[in-house]
Symmetry: C2
């Protein structure tokens, strides 16, 4: 038996950030492109863009910078604040997983 | 912004216990009846019963004792092991919530 856990962020009871949005930002960081990140996640560019806008609005921080033109036809990068946000979220998740695994071992020993 | 978290148990990647099953067992404990507990959860008796059977099979512990007959036409009670299981699960959940809230305060201070 294994324990699983997840976290997400809400503002006034509305989900604003969870693993899906986390994966989207991570993919944008990796590929330098919203379009490519959206493809990796099997969602449309339009949907990815609306997720980003909603996150930026609700969190009140700028997350993605789009660059137009250039030899590669533009691209996108995470802002410094987005990177810090992602790092903090990952830190929280990691701490949670470690805590849950440890507690599970302590609490559920010899359940049968 | 608030942090939310949830836990569930899996065996070989298959979910075996989470908040839904937890609520079902808690309701059986409260009402002393699978039928009444099912009604409270807006599921059929049949479904509630199949959930209980699946949990008992997968966890390998007896959870609910059904009593037939009597002046109230039978009823159901949790076994001692089910009560211990529920208590442990609640303890785990409580510890998790406290941990997550504390960590969130530490990690996400001054995000903007």
């Amino acid at each position: 038996m294994e324990i699983r856990s997840k976290i997400w962020l809400e503002i006034n009871g509305e989900p604003v950030f969870g693993s899906g949005r986390q994966n989207l930002l991570t993919a944008i960081d990796k590929y330098g492109s919203i379009n490519r990140a959206a493809k990796e996640m099997n969602i449309s560019y339009r949907k990815a863009f609306s997720y980003i806008q909603a996150m930026e609005d609700r969190l009140g921080i700028s997350l993605v910078e789009r660059k137009t033109g250039g030899s590669h036809g533009g691209g996108a990068t995470l802002t410094g604040k987005a990177k810090i946000f992602l790092e903090k979220y990952e830190l929280l998740e990691k701490g949670l997983n470690e805590f849950v695994d440890k507690k599970f071992g302590q609490v559920f020993k010899n359940i049968k």
